[in-house]
Amino acid sequence: MKYSGIWILAEQDGGRVQRISYELLTRGRELAEKRNTDLTAMIFGHDINADDLQELIDCGADRVVAMEASELEHFLVEPYSACMLRIIEEYRPEIIIAGATSTGRTLMPYVAIKAHAGLTADCTVLDIEADTGNLLQTRPAIGGNILATIKTPSHRPQMATVRPRSTKPAAKQPGRSGEIIRLEATADLLTSRVRRVGFEASEESHSLQDADVVVAVGRGIKKSENIPLMQELADALDAALGASRDVIDRGWMSYPHQIGLSGKTVTPKFYLGAGVSGSIQHLAGMQTAETIVAINTDPDAQIFNVADFGIVGDLFEIVPVLTEKIRQVKGNG
C-alpha cells in the first residue's frame, strides 16, 4: 500500500487541545494544498474535549483520529509511540509533523527509528515537491550559522518537528466539515516502564512563550544585581522577562528564561532587548516578533539588523527613564 496524506500530531493537556496543534494545522494545510491531499490530525489522550476535536476540523483538518485511554492522559513515550506506530501501520501517512515540544522531540525520534523513517528536527520552513511528494525541510544547524535543507528521498513516512510559535495558529473557517474518529486504545499499546507520579507547575516559564510583550536581558546588564532594573521595565510593560544565553550561563537567571536556539522561541507582538548583541542563535528565538526594539551601546550590534527601532546608548541610563515614562503614560491612559 502506498503512503499518502499529511498528518499532524495534535497535543492535549487535561483533555484540552493545545495551541501547537493549530500552528501545525497552518503548516499542514499549506502542504496538503500543494500536494493535493488530505490533512489529518492525530491526537492521544483521555476524555478529550469533543468541541476541541471539532475545532481541529474547523481550523483546517479534514479528519481527526483520536486514540484514547486513561493511560494516555499524559505523555509517556512507550504508549504514545505504540499508538503512533499503529496509526502508521494502518493509515500509511506520507508525512507526519509534530511540534518541537518536550513531547514531540521525544516521541518522534522514538517512532522514527522503529518506522525506519527520516526525521528532521526543529524545521523553520517546510515545503513540498509536488510531483515526488518529497518534503523539503529547512532548519538551522551549527548553532544557527547555516540553514540546511533536508529531504528524505526513499523512506516513508517523512517526519519533521517544527518549533512552537514559529507559525500563527490556524483560524476557524466557517462551513468546514470533516470526520472525527475516536478510538479506544487497546491494552497491548498501553504498557509503560515510565510512570508519572507527580507534577510541579512553574508559571514563569510558561508565561514567557505566551506573552504578548517580552523584555530580554543580555550580558550588557553586567551582573545579576542589575536584573531588577529590567524586571521593573518588564513590569511597567506588563511583559515577561527573558534573557540571552550568556545571562543564563552566568547564572544570573534560570534556564527556563533562555530565549533562542537552545532556549525558547518567542513570537510576541513586541520584543525589547537591552544589552543583547543579537547573535544568530538568539535571533533564532525571537526574530519573528512583530515589533523589535533594541537598546545597545554598540551602534553596529547585530540586533539592530532585525530591529524596527533602536536606541544606541547605555541601558543603565535609558532603561530607568523609559520605565518611568511608560508608567506615566499608562497611568494617564
Partner: protein, 265 residues
C-alpha cells in the same frame, strides 16, 4: 551500577566562522571539544557512581581524533572509554548514528542507565538519545533536570516540560537525556589527566558490532542534506543615538511615540 554516557566531539561553535561564498563552516583552527551539553551527562553519571558504586563508561562515535574527547571524559572521572570509529559510519544521520551507538552499547552490555546530553551543538537535533532507547527497546526520559533517587530497579527524576516539571519513576535499564540544570560539570583533575593519558582506549569498527552494513553511514541514513545556505535577516531599523542625558530623554520620547503609533502601549 553501570552507566554508559555517549558523548560527541563537536567544533567549538561559538567561534565558528562561515565561508561566505560556499556557506560552509571554516573548520581550520576551530577547536574540537566535548559537546558542552554532554558535560552535564558526564557529571551526573559520575555523581551517581560515587553515590551508588559501579562504573561510568563513555563512548563516542566519530573520527579517530574523537579519542581526545574520551580522554577528557576520563580526566573528569569516568572509568573507561570506547571509541566507535569506521569510515563506513561517515555521513550518518540520527537514525544511523543511534543504530551504531545502540550496537556498541549492546556489546558493552550489563548497563543500568544510558545518559545522553540534551542535544549536540552541531547537529543540534536531540534525537540520538531517544533513538538509542528505541533501538534498545528501553524506556527514555528526556529533559531531565534533577535525579531525585536511584534504586536497584528504578529511578525517580524531574523532567522539564513547557509548564513545569513532571516527576517520573523510570524502570531500569533506561535512557535519560539531561538538561543543564542537572549539575555543574567539574573540571578535569591533574590526577585524572594522568590517568587519561595512560588509559588504553579500544576502537570498535563496524565489524566488531552486530550491525548490518547497509544500515551504516550515509547509505543507512533516510535523510539527505540537499542544500546549505546562509540565513539572512534584515528589517529597517529607525536608529537614534542617546549619548547624553538630554538625548536619552529625547530617544525615550521617540520610542514611546513609536510604540503608541503601533498601539503597543
Amino acid at each position: 551500577m553501570r552507566i554508559i554516557v555517549p558523548i560527541k566531539q563537536v567544533p567549538e561553535t561559538n567561534a565558528v566562522r562561515m565561508d561566505e561564498e560556499t556557506g560552509t563552516m571554516i573548520r581550520e583552527g576551530v577547536e574540537a571539544i566535548i559537546n558542552p551539553l554532554d558535560l552535564y551527562a558526564i557529571e551526573i553519571a559520575i555523581r551517581m557512581r560515587d553515590e551508588h558504586g559501579g562504573e561510568v563508561v563513555v563512548i563516542s562515535m566519530g573520527p579517530p581524533k574523537a579519542v581526545k574527547a574520551l580522554r577528557e571524559a576520563i580526566a573528569m572521572g569516568c572509568d573507561s572509554a570506547v571509541l566507535i570509529s569506521d569510515k563506513a559510519f561517515a555521513g550518518a544521520d540520527t537514525w544511523a548514528t543511534s543504530y551504531v551507538l545502540a550496537g556498541a552499547i549492546k556489546r558493552i552490555g550489563g548497563y543500568d542507565l544510558i545518559i545522553c546530553g540534551e542535544r549536540a551543538t552541531d547537529g543540534d537535533t536531540g534525537q540520538v538519545g531517544p533513538g538509542i532507547a528505541s533501538f534498545l527497546e528501553l524506556p527514555v526520559a528526556s529533559y531531565i533536570g534533577k535525579v531525585d533517587s536511584v534504586a536497584e530497579k528504578s529511578c525517580r527524576v524531574h523532567r522539564l516540560v513547557e509548564t513545569g516539571y513532571e516527576v517520573l519513576e523510570v524502570d531500569l535499564p533506561a535512557v535519560l537525556t539531561v538538561v543543564k540544570e542537572i549539575a555543574d560539570p567539574r573540571l578535569p583533575t591533574l590526577r585524572g589527566k594522568q590517568k587519561a593519558r595512560k588509559m588504553d582506549i579500544p576502537t570498535w569498527a563496524g565489524g566488531d558490532l552486530k550491525v548490518e552494513p547497509d544500515k551504516l553511514g550515509l547509505n543507512g541514513s533516510p535523510t539527505r542534506v540537499v542544500k546549505i545556505h546562509k540565513p539572512t535577516v534584515a528589517r529597517n531599523c529607525q536608529k537614534v543615538a542617546a549619548a547624553d542625558e538630554q538625548a536619552v530623554e529625547q530617544a525615550v520620547d521617540q520610542l514611546v511615540a513609536f510604540l503608541q503609533g503601533k498601539d503597543l502601549m
